[in-house]
């Protein structure tokens, strides 16, 4: 297991072939973040996980997935959490900079700044920003990568709790570890690291034996999300100046014609009047 290096960006490695579905990470996360318990229910559909989805009270969730393989029913687990993107949409869309990508890796949220517009929830490609719908003055809630622990050189609570499937450490080391596993056991893994390129690169890498779509992973664009909006936004000052200058020029031209005509008329008037005066004399 590699060590946390607070000088470098750290990432998670979650090996789903090794996840036993014990949900120790969920419990550890609840404890560390002092999150209240949720009432759960039995539902059909995506799986038998409880609760149904991550929420203001649940930052990480082990999803349970059933699928068919060679005519047999198989199942798999999948840990859902904030992906701590390299260039996160939540950071770029927030009007007041409430989200910050820290150099240590985690994407954190400063609740003092948040105005509650919920744009981060629309922006996040993994739908990981949740809202405190139970509160009167709600804030955004999500996994903060246990930032307070990382700063002290400790692993995130969920990684510490996990006996088998999770590793945490500097980006390059973890990536090498993942690639090594893929090379070493090509028949155990699907040859892909989910999270490496998704949304322009994230801080959580997944390894699995089954197609990611079947496990319920969203197919997410490979481009960093802010790069979609930036082209339009970077045009803002130029547009402002162009429209302003263009309209000013247009106004000047259209009004000039009138003014010239008016001046001509006035001159004529004056000439006429002086002429008439001269005549009188």
């Amino acid at each position: 297991m590699s060590k946390v290096n607070i000088k470098k960006g750290n990432v998670f490695l979650i090996d789903l072939t090794k996840c036993t579905g014990c949900r120790g990470c969920m419990v550890a996360c609840k404890q560390w973040n002092q999150l209240q318990a949720e009432e759960t229910d039995f539902f059909s559909g995506e799986g038998y996980q409880n609760p149904r989805s991550t929420s203001e009270h649940t930052f990480t969730l082990i999803k349970f997935r059933e699928y068919e393989k060679n005519g047999k029913i198989e199942f798999s687990f999948y840990k859902e959490m904030c992906m701590h993107c390299d260039d996160p949409a939540c950071v770029s869309v927030c009007p007041v900079n409430a989200f910050v990508k820290t150099p240590e890796g985690p994407v954190i949220y400063e609740s003092d700044l948040c105005i509650g517009c919920r744009f981060c929830m629309i922006g996040c490609p993994f739908n990981m920003a949740k809202y405190e719908w139970s509160k009167k003055l709600p804030l955004v809630k999500k996994c903060d990568g246990c930032y307070s622990r990382i700063k002290e050189g400790l692993e995130p609570a969920c990684v510490t709790a996990c006996a088998t499937a999770m590793d945490y450490g500097p980006h390059d080391e973890i990536l090498k570890m993942a690639q090594q596993r893929l090379k070493q056991f090509p028949d155990r893994y699907l040859d892909k690291i989910y999270g490496k390129d998704e949304a322009g690169g994230t801080g959580v890498f997944y390894l699995t034996s089954e197609p990611f779509e079947e496990l319920g992973f969203d197919t997410v664009t490979k481009r960093a999300l802010p790069s979609y909006t930036w082209p339009a936004l970077s045009l803002v000052p130029a547009t402002f100046l162009t429209v302003g200058a263009g309209l000013s020029a247009l106004t000047w031209i259209t009004n000039r014609r009138e003014r010239i005509e008016k001046e001509k008329n006035e001159k004529l008037d004056k000439q006429n009047s002086t002429e008439s005066k001269e005549e009188q004399i």
């Binding site: 869309v93 700044l113 105005i115 744009f119 719908w133 339009a232 429209v243």
Partner: protein
């Protein structure tokens, strides 16, 4: 006592429709109070799946283009120098000012932390479309407010202010148009970030441009509808002749929008496009009924100078724009397994906001000189350059 009587006299003198509006405003205000007392989660149908609902879709994303008439007309009259449309400018400014003020109200109701709304002013994030729109809406509401001061000053006969305002008129018109260009388009940059969420029928990188173009069309159509209804119900002069001039502009703007819309969908949009029948229907209605039909109506009108269908064509286009905004901000991101429907409180607040707009317009139109045709009075001499 006499104050109360004059208020009740004023109240009684209104048409029943206006009284209905007053009731809706009161109901809306009460609903807004309930929303603040019990919180967003308890009073709305918003959820983690639908963080934005009716309030964003209508009160902000739809209301802003509907209030675009003020800057469009200002630019047409003063920059393109089509001076005969001048009488329409003031009602448009009043509509715009009301519209934007109510957008601000809608925004405050929707924010989870409204008391911190001012943070936008000090914690700038230039990467955020929301930041840009918020700043523009604030700036533009201020500009509209100053423009709106003109009839107020005239009503109370503040000569100096009238002169100063006149002097600022042109710079304000240009400023208004530039700011509007920015936020009318940036509103759609909101949804450019929803890469894999918004349906391909609507998602494409030209969204900001399209949003801007359709806002211009919507703004002009609102002016048309407004002029027609003021003539019909408020005893204002018939402006049909002026409107006919305005109508000559419309086929061009709508046509340009339709062309860019379809080309961008073919060449820049994602695939697949027509995979869900519901979305295809929504798109067909939006495009067919809301844009292409009024385009045909307006273009035939300008040839024959026939203004008979003007009102219905304008209404259709406005329908198209509203539909388009809802498709982008709500329907196009729907999950068929979990449909969002606005709650009672959400609907009542929005109804209240619409009613407040109509009501305030009627009251202002009654008490302030917004419909008088202005020939510049001699006692307010103007600086030469802005004389029209």
């Amino acid at each position: 006592m006499s104050a109360a009587r004059s208020i009740s006299n004023e109240f009684n003198s209104y048409h029943w429709f206006v009284k209905l509006m007053m009731m809706l405003v009161v109901v809306g205000a009460v609903s807004a109070i309930i929303r603040f007392v019990f919180g967003l989660g308890a009073t709305t149908n918003l959820s983690d799946r639908y963080p934005w609902g009716l309030w964003v879709s209508f009160d902000i994303v739809t209301a802003v283009p509907l209030a675009a008439g003020a800057f469009t007309l200002g630019a047409i009259v003063h920059c393109f120098n089509i001076k005969k449309l001048e009488p329409l400018v003031r009602p448009a400014i009043v509509t715009g000012f009301l519209g934007y003020s109510l957008v601000c109200v809608g925004l405050l109701v929707d924010l989870g932390q409204p008391h911190k709304g001012w943070h936008v002013l000090i914690h700038w994030n230039l990467q955020s479309p929301m930041f840009e729109v918020a700043m523009c809406v604030l700036a533009y509401t201020t500009v509209l407010f100053i423009e709106f001061l003109a009839p107020v000053a005239e009503k109370f006969g503040w000569k100096l202010s009238i002169r100063v305002l006149r002097w600022f008129e042109l710079p304000l018109v240009i400023l208004a148009a530039s700011i509007s260009t920015l936020h009318q388009s940036s509103l759609w940059t909101f949804f450019v970030i929803a890469v894999d969420k918004l349906h391909n029928l609507w998602y494409n990188p030209l969204l900001p441009l399209l949003f801007f173009m359709s806002a211009i069309c919507a703004g002009i159509c609102i002016i048309i509808l407004e002029a027609i209804s003021c003539h019909k119900w408020m005893g204002q002069p018939n402006e049909d002749e002026l409107l006919a001039t305005l109508i000559k502009i419309l086929p061009w703007t709508i046509g340009a929008y339709i062309i860019v819309r379809i080309l961008s969908m073919i060449f820049l949009g994602g695939r697949p496009v027509f995979d869900t029948p519901v979305m295809t229907w929504l798109f067909a209605v939006e495009m067919g009924v809301g844009f292409i039909l009024p385009f045909i109506m307006f273009s035939r009108m300008s040839i024959q100078n026939n203004v008979r269908f003007m009102g219905s064509a304008a209404a259709l286009l406005i329908f198209g724009v509203i539909m388009n905004r809802f498709n982008v901000s709500m329907f196009g991101m729907m999950d068929p397994n979990e449909i969002y429907f606005p709650s009672m409180i959400e609907s009542l607040v929005t109804l209240g906001i619409i009613a407040a707009h109509i009501l305030l317009f009627v009251v202002i139109a009654r008490h302030f000189p917004i419909f008088e045709h202005h020939t510049e009075p001699e006692e307010h001499p103007l600086p030469a350059y802005s004389r029209s």
